[in-house]
């Protein structure tokens, strides 16, 4: 069956895919790596140098921002998981079958809307002249408006909010395959709720937890909009450093080095996550 027709279709499928992956993914990232090692000598001539990476380690603000971003992205991932677990459990195991479809649609809808609109909504709610402050003043809970934007907790809340969906959806799909009789049996044997959660539900949901965590972590790490608008000037998010190098200081080589470091960080953490849970990227993607 390996006639000529097979080879033609094979090349027909292969060539656009190769063009896409090599021209738009592989070559640009090699270029990113190469440019991160470029710089100028004292005479202003272009040379190969490690200076861009040295700057990163010498300037405390850079590596502090880097570590802070990584840590906060992890906290975001953890909070998202804690919030998403009961929600997906409720939808799959507790809601009546008829409300279930409705709740799932309701759950997905906000995430079709642009992240910018969602962040803007939070800004209207939380800022000093915002809706929350207005009602709290009216009800006499506070006498002075409080600025609820531009702090770390709000920023993490915003990140959790924007990436929620990517934890809930894999958790729902993995929980659907959890056999109710396992929980019933455990209940009959008088296991406590916590034990059921720890020994049945969480182990069963592991693949969903892994894929959800990877996506949420990556989205939080690479997010620019939410830290920038909700964290304000104090947000110190690493993507902002990259943006500043590119747009404000116009130091593209430095920016390339930062970009590459961020790429390494996200790859390493995702790789460790996959190793620890003994899964591979192919399984997680499907």
């Amino acid at each position: 069956m390996m006639g000529n027709g097979f080879r033609i279709t094979f090349w027909l499928f292969l060539s656009p895919v190769l063009l896409w992956l090599f021209l738009l993914i592989v070559i640009p990232h090699i270029d990113l790596l190469l440019l991160s090692f470029r710089g100028e000598s004292d005479m202003g001539d272009p040379i190969w140098t490690l200076q861009n990476y040295k700057n990163f380690f010498i300037e405390p603000i850079y590596w502090y921002t880097f570590l802070r971003t990584a840590l906060y992205a992890m906290i975001t991932t953890f909070c998202t998981f804690i919030l998403a677990l009961p929600v997906s459990f409720y939808i799959v195991k507790l809601a009546r079958p008829r409300t279930r479809g409705f709740l799932t649609v309701l759950l997905l809808l906000p995430f079709w809307v642009s992240e910018l609109v969602r962040v803007y909504g939070w800004m209207i709610l939380l800022r000093e002249s915002g809706v929350f402050n207005y009602f709290m003043l009216k009800m006499g809970i506070i006498d002075q408006p409080i600025e609820m934007l531009y702090n770390d907790i709000t920023m993490i809340m915003g990140l959790v909010y924007t990436s929620m969906l990517f934890m809930v959806v894999p958790l729902i799909s993995v929980m659907e395959s959890l056999d109710d009789s396992l929980i019933e049996a455990a209940h009959d044997l008088e296991a406590s709720r916590f034990d059921i959660l720890r020994t049945i539900i969480i182990p069963h949901c592991k693949p969903g937890i892994t894929s959800g965590s990877i996506v949420v972590f990556m989205l939080a790490l690479g997010n620019y909009l939410t830290p920038n608008l909700m964290g304000g000037k104090n947000s110190l998010w690493f993507t902002e450093q990259i943006y500043n190098q590119f747009i404000a200081s116009f130091n593209w080589n430095q920016g390339a080095a930062f970009g590459f470091l961020l790429l390494v960080l996200s790859s390493v953490i995702i790789w460790v996550g996959l190793k620890v849970t003994r899964q591979n990227l192919g399984e997680v993607a499907s």
């Binding site: 993914i25 642009s114 609109v117 620019y224 943006y243 790429l263």
Partner: protein, 284 residues
């Protein structure tokens, strides 16, 4: 604990309350944004001064409603065009890629598959800067070697299209692959035994079967492109897309016109989302 087991009242109630709180958390920012679009006020904030359509229809000069706001309308149009081209390009290439990985066997298939998944784990900002750098390098190269200035290598409309295409295609591939996995290959073989070439069999049989998935993937690609911010931020030229344009306005102080745009966006995407959901329900 679950539906089939007897649950204590406090347990059920606290869980119900939690879910209500969660959905309030989800919808509060969107609802407030929409409501304040109709407030008769110059700021997107309380108090409520009465109902007004000014931020939609007022021609200015004091209040410029969205239907008269040229700058925002232009950016909406740019976003439409971008999303249109991205949806077409990524659907075509993504479908090819799904066929390639589901139906063909070739050396290094595993590595290429891994590479195809890579855009899922590359932060969008990094995709944007690496493409910007590569385009710049290519532009300089062309200018120095041939003395021609190639517009596409500068931040511009087409560079944005390419940047968004580079990761959205992966999503299209995954969606189409999922459907292609369920396809019964004997149908294609039957067509070929009856004299169709492979291409004809794919065109008349397999693609007909894949149609709902392809349409769904195109809709998702359109939306992802329409809303993309991270990758676009670095590639955008003199024609900002809607998210970029909105970002600049929100950052530098906002008027309720952003609320009215948000309301339009929310209704538009909800309709598209429900449409898509309806189609994917039919598919099963």
């Amino acid at each position: 604990m679950i539906r089939s087991l007897p649950n204590s009242k406090p347990y059920t109630w606290s869980f119900n309350l939690f879910i209500i709180a969660y959905f309030t958390f989800l919808f509060a920012p969107l609802a407030v944004t929409c409501i304040l679009a109709f407030n008769d006020s110059n700021f997107p904030s309380m108090p409520w001064n009465g109902f007004s359509l000014d931020w939609f229809t007022s021609p200015g000069p004091e209040r410029v409603g969205i239907f008269h706001d040229d700058q925002n309308l232009r950016s909406i149009w740019t976003s439409f065009q971008t999303a249109f081209y991205v949806a077409i390009l990524s659907t075509v290439v993504g479908t090819c890629s799904a066929f390639l990985f589901e139906q063909e066997e070739f050396p290094f298939k595993k590595s290429l598959y891994f590479l195809m998944l890579a855009p899922l784990v590359i932060p969008g900002v990094i995709l944007g800067i690496s493409l910007l750098l590569a385009a710049n390098t290519a532009g300089t190269f062309f200018e120095e070697s041939f003395g021609i200035d190639v517009g596409i290598f500068r931040p511009s409309f087409w560079l944005v299209v390419l940047g968004q295409f580079s990761f959205i295609t992966t999503f299209v591939t995954l969606v189409v692959s999922a459907r292609l996995k369920k396809f019964d290959n004997s149908l294609e073989e039957a067509a070929m035994i009856l004299g169709a070439t492979r291409l004809e069999a794919i065109w008349f049989v397999t693609l007909r079967y894949l149609r709902p998935a392809v349409i769904g993937a195109a809709a998702v690609a359109f939306l992802m492109s329409f809303e993309n911010f991270n990758t676009t931020l670095f590639l955008v030229g003199s024609e900002p897309t809607l998210p970029i344009n909105l970002y600049l306005q929100v950052r530098d102080g906002s008027t309720p016109v952003i609320n009215s745009i948000s309301l339009l966006l929310i209704s538009g995407t909800s309709i598209l989302a429900l449409f898509n959901l309806y189609f994917s329900k039919k598919e099963d």
